[in-house]
Every structure is written in structure tokens, then in C-alpha cells.
């Protein structure tokens, strides 16, 4: 997976950017507020057709005084070159693949694969469950592009179901339809997530031992805090990843047991939109008991393991977007990060920084200076 060229027009403060990046390391150096993160955001947008900044509206993506932003990249994967383009106007985004408009995003997803690592990831374990769900969902999306559509459909069903729960009328047939749909989509999501955790867990354990301490036992588990998961459910969640009927039964029971609560509160209280990840070090919760050093090492291990998981299981190297992480990591962890990056046989990386010295890379490097929306090689 290689970004061979990137052209941006009126994307945020980047009014005109034309870059032919290095196939290994690209360093974007500059002070804060000059447009470094916007550069990474543009690459992300060409992959996911949305920003990595939560709740971003289209208007904010467009340069001041302009009607639309145009993002275009030439990407290479498996020997094939393709041109992807996203036009952003206030009314919406239009996607083109080799100049042809893309009607269905599901046909487009998977064209560009990126993994991001930014300051907000340092807080992935300290923040709310949605942060951890996003981590899992992004990793799955990279491996299975169709997951994005599945997750979007699930969200839609969920909104309808919640609207029904809030409404006054009761149509048993209508409820039955949305229960059926909810279980169908939720089961697919749960199975994808359980399958991810199953394969991700050993990679994480190995990574943490390598970068921190070989004597530590790490554990990461998928967590459903709904009533039906403990009683009546025999066998581990892990087994459910290959047991469609079992997952559907679990969801069915979950809905039955929470019926009273969801009518009262007016929304669906069980399902993949409520789940979480639990993480432990030597049996103790990372969030509460780990030292700051252990905590950061754990987060770094999660990100490195995410990349390794994609490379080992799916045999492709995603583009890495590292947003000013060195300033958030201590010296030791920073060294581990760059050891890992240099040790990969291939794979393109974009790194932003305020200080070039933080970036422990000497070979195969292009450096760009980012200043007031201008990106110039230096």
C-alpha cells in the first residue's frame, strides 16, 4: 500500500499541496497550527471518506472563502495504480475512483488503508467505552472494508428501534421486524469483533512483552455489560465468534431481559453500541492500577499490535499516520516505536512533529516543512 502522489486544493488551510511522498518515511515538521495534522487528516479522509476528528462537518473541511475542497491521491496496491478523489462541498462528499463517480461507498472502502496514531490514542484506555469500540472498529474496517457498511446499517436500525421505543403507539409486528433486524446486524458486528479480539490478543501479548517487560501477562477481552451475558450463558464469549446461532440467541435473550428497562428509558440498552474492552496487566485493570509508564507502553503495544495483526493476518502494510506522538511518549517508549518502524520491511509512514530530533529516523526519509498551509520539501 503506497501513496505515490497527493494533491490537495482548499482543504482546510492547505490551499495548494502537491507532494510525491517517499515510499518509507515522510516527516512533516513545523510549529503547531500550521497544517501538519490537516495533511494527515486529508490522507485519512481519502481512506474513510470522513475525518478522524469526531463530529466534523463538511463546511469546516473547506478552505475559507471557497466552495469546495478537492483531495486527490495516486495509490498503488498489489501492483495496481489507482487515482482516488474526494470532493467536499457543504452539501456533501463525492468520491471518484479513476475519474468515475462512486455510487456505493462499499465499492470504494478498502482502496486506501491507513492506521492512525495520535495524542488522543494515548487516552484510549482512560476515555469512555466509545474510544475503545472505535479502536476495534477501525482495525476491523482495515481488514474487512464491508464492515463499514454493516456498522452504518446497524446504526440506522438502532436509530429506528430507539424511535419506536420513544413513540407512543405499539405495533407488535413492527417491533418484531426491528428486533429481527437488530439481532441480525448486531450479531454480525459482534462476531467480527470477537473474531478480531481472538486473533489480536496473542499479538498484543507478544508486543507488550517485547517493548516493556517479558514477565508481564497482558489480557484484553471483549466486554458486554448486559444482563443476559452472565446468567444462562454457558461457555466463553470467544466461542461465540464462530457460533452464529449462539450469538443470535444471546441477543434475543438480551432484548427479552431488558424489555422493561428499554421501554422506560426509551432506547436500546444492550448490543454492540454499549460494549467495551477490558485490559489487564498481571490480572489488574490497566486503567486503574498501571503506572504511567506501563499505561503508555500498553497503549503503544496496542497500536503496534494493530499494525502487526494486519500485516501478519492479511498480508498488507497499511499507511501509518503518526500525529505528534513522540511528544506524548517518554524517551524509552519513543525508542521502541522507532525501532518497530525501522524494523518493518516495508510500509509507508507519515509523521508530524514540532521537533525533528524526536524522530529517530535517518535513512529513507523525506522531510517536509509545514508553514502557514504550505508544504515544502526540504
Amino acid at each position: 500500500m503506497l501513496l505515490e502522489a497527493l494533491h490537495l486544493h482548499h482543504f482546510r488551510n492547505l490551499s495548494k499541496v502537491r507532494v510525491e511522498p517517499h515510499q518509507r518515511f515522510n516527516i512533516l515538521a513545523g510549529d503547531n497550527g500550521q497544517g501538519k495534522t490537516n495533511f494527515l487528516e486529508a490522507i485519512y479522509l481519502l481512506s474513510a471518506v470522513k475525518s478522524f476528528r469526531p463530529s466534523t462537518n463538511n463546511a469546516s473541511l473547506i478552505g475559507f472563502g471557497h466552495e469546495q475542497a478537492v483531495l486527490e491521491a495516486k495509490v498503488e496496491r498489489g501492483g495496481y495504480e489507482r487515482v482516488v478523489r474526494v470532493d467536499v462541498s457543504e452539501r456533501g462528499k463525492r468520491v471518484f475512483l479513476n475519474e468515475n463517480p462512486v455510487r456505493n461507498l462499499s465499492d470504494f472502502f478498502g482502496t486506501v488503508n491507513v492506521v492512525t496514531f495520535g495524542p488522543e490514542d494515548i487516552y484510549i484506555l482512560k476515555g469512555g467505552p466509545s474510544e475503545r469500540r472505535r479502536f476495534v472498529d477501525r482495525a476491523i474496517f482495515n481488514a474487512h472494508p464491508a464492515y463499514a457498511t454493516e456498522a452504518m446499517n446497524f446504526e440506522e436500525i438502532l436509530k429506528h428501534r430507539n424511535a419506536l421505543l420513544k413513540g407512543d403507539g405499539y405495533d407488535a409486528n413492527l417491533f418484531a421486524v426491528y428486533d429481527e433486524q437488530f439481532i441480525d446486524y448486531a450479531a454480525s458486528m459482534l462476531q467480527r469483533r470477537l473474531d478480531f479480539i481472538h486473533h489480536f490478543r496473542p499479538v498484543l501479548e507478544r508486543t507488550f512483552r517485547a517493548i516493556f517487560d517479558p514477565d508481564f501477562e497482558t489480557e484484553i477481552a471483549y466486554e458486554m455489560k448486559w444482563p443476559s451475558t452472565s446468567p444462562g450463558h454457558d461457555g466463553s464469549l470467544d466461542e461465540l465468534r464462530e457460533d452464529r446461532v449462539g450469538v443470535e440467541r444471546l441477543l434475543q435473550r438480551g432484548l427479552e431481559q431488558s424489555m422493561r428497562e428499554e421501554r422506560q428509558r426509551g432506547f436500546t440498552v444492550i448490543g454492540p453500541h454499549r460494549d467495551d474492552l477490558s485490559t489487564t496487566l498481571n490480572g489488574r485493570d490497566v486503567k486503574t492500577f498501571a503506572s504511567q509508564g506501563q499505561h503508555r507502553a500498553f497503549v503503544l503495544a496496542m497500536k503496534i499490535a494493530e499494525i502487526t495483526y494486519l500485516e501478519e493476518r492479511y498480508h498488507f502494510a497499511p499507511i501509518l499516520l503518526l500525529d505528534d506522538v513522540s511528544s506524548e511518549l517518554d524517551r524509552e517508549r519513543n525508542r521502541h516505536l522507532f525501532d518497530f518502524l525501522r524494523g518493518r520491511e516495508q510500509g509507508q509512514v507519515f509523521i508530524t512533529t514540532t521537533h525533528r530530533d524526536y524522530i529517530l529516523l535517518e535513512d529513507d526519509v523525506s522531510v517536509y516543512r509545514v508553514q502557514a498551509g504550505e508544504v515544502c520539501p526540504c
Partner: protein, 204 residues
């Protein structure tokens, strides 16, 4: 709101059409201005006529000038098979294939609790009435209902809902094959794909 300027009024009215922005509306308005007055008269009366004369077919809810639409009046059509569609453009798209010889039922929408659209807002009751032949309904009983709502989340939910109502009545319920792209609308699907989707329908 009406302004005092007739050109602005026309532009505002035209920009209410789906897909017509202010720029196109302005172009259309100036076109009307440039044309002879007969054109404006013709257009105005066509607009009023369509609203005054066109109503819903009493049987299938298709648009029609009379009590029954041309398809329901046509005795060569097979009344035992009903194809349920979301909208009249969808009906037209399926008619365009020339392969379907049954009759239709137009829902005029899909179920969407989020937007407050429930079964009562669609013409579901009229569809159920067609299943129990009464004095003013067709004499031959319906044997198959083909649900051709779009494969979107809402179209799918609508199909499942109809299935729940129709199955207890002993009628065969089928769904068009999903050769139609997900999220794509029937209206824009090419004839061959659409024709195949109907031919390869499956029992729900």
C-alpha cells in the same frame, strides 16, 4: 414567502424541485421569460391539470386520472400476482422491462420510525384489502405478492413487515433478488438487472 418581484417568485418556486438549485432555477426562469406567452400558458395549465385530475388508483394506488389506473383496467394483466413498489417511478422502471405481466401496488414510501413514517402512513391497508376479495374488488384471489422495495435498510424493514402481515393470509410472498446494488434505487437500475432481479425472486 412571496416577494414583490415576479422573477424572484418564479425562481423561488422552481428551486423547490428536487435537484434544482438556485442557479438552475434562475436559468429556467429566464428561459420562461424569453419564450412566447403560449409556452407559459401551456406550462401553467399542465401544472394545474396534473394536480386537479390525477389521483390514486382505487385498487393499486398508482397515479391515475380515473378510478382505476391503466394497468388495473387492462384485462390481459395477471391479477393473481401483485408487485409491491415504493413509488410510481419504481413502477415505471419495472414496467420498462416489459417482462412483468402481473399488477402492482404502490406504497408511496417506506417504513421509517425515525422520520415518523409508520405502516399507517403508507398504503398498506389497501394492499391487505386486495387479499380478501370483496364485492368491488377483483374476483380472482391473489396468489403471490412480490416485494420490490429497495434493498436499503428501510426497504428491507418494509419488506419484512409486509411478510408478517401477508404470510398468515396464506399468500406466497417473494422478494426480488438482490442483484440490485445495495443502497441503489430501483429507479436507476438498468433494465436487464431489474428484469433478472424479478425473475430470480425468492420466497421470503
Amino acid at each position: 414567502m412571496k416577494t414583490r418581484d415576479p422573477i424572484t417568485n418564479l425562481i423561488n418556486a422552481l428551486s423547490k424541485f428536487p435537484g434544482i438549485g438556485e442557479r438552475t432555477a434562475t436559468r429556467l426562469a429566464f428561459f420562461v421569460l424569453k419564450e412566447p406567452v403560449e409556452f407559459a400558458n401551456e406550462l401553467a395549465s399542465a401544472l394545474i391539470e396534473v394536480k386537479e385530475k390525477v389521483g390514486l388508483c382505487q385498487r393499486c394506488c398508482n397515479l391515475t386520472e380515473g378510478d382505476l389506473c391503466a394497468i388495473c383496467r387492462d384485462t390481459r394483466r395477471d391479477p393473481t400476482t401483485i408487485c409491491v413498489v415504493e413509488s410510481t417511478p419504481d413502477l415505471r422502471a419495472i414496467e420498462g422491462t416489459g417482462d412483468f405481466r402481473g399488477t402492482y401496488h404502490v406504497l408511496h414510501g417506506v417504513i421509517s420510525p425515525l422520520e415518523g413514517v409508520g405502516p399507517d402512513d403508507l398504503h398498506v391497508r389497501e394492499l391487505l384489502d386486495r387479499m380478501r376479495p370483496g364485492p368491488d374488488q377483483q374476483a380472482t384471489p391473489v396468489t403471490e405478492v412480490i416485494v420490490a422495495t429497495s434493498p436499503s435498510v428501510d426497504g428491507e424493514a418494509t419488506a419484512l413487515y409486509l411478510l408478517r402481515l401477508l404470510r398468515p393470509l396464506g399468500v406466497r410472498v417473494s422478494r426480488i433478488a438482490s442483484g440490485v446494488p445495495i443502497g441503489g434505487e430501483l429507479e436507476y437500475t438498468d433494465r436487464v438487472t431489474l428484469s433478472r432481479a424479478i425473475a430470480q425472486r425468492r420466497d421470503m
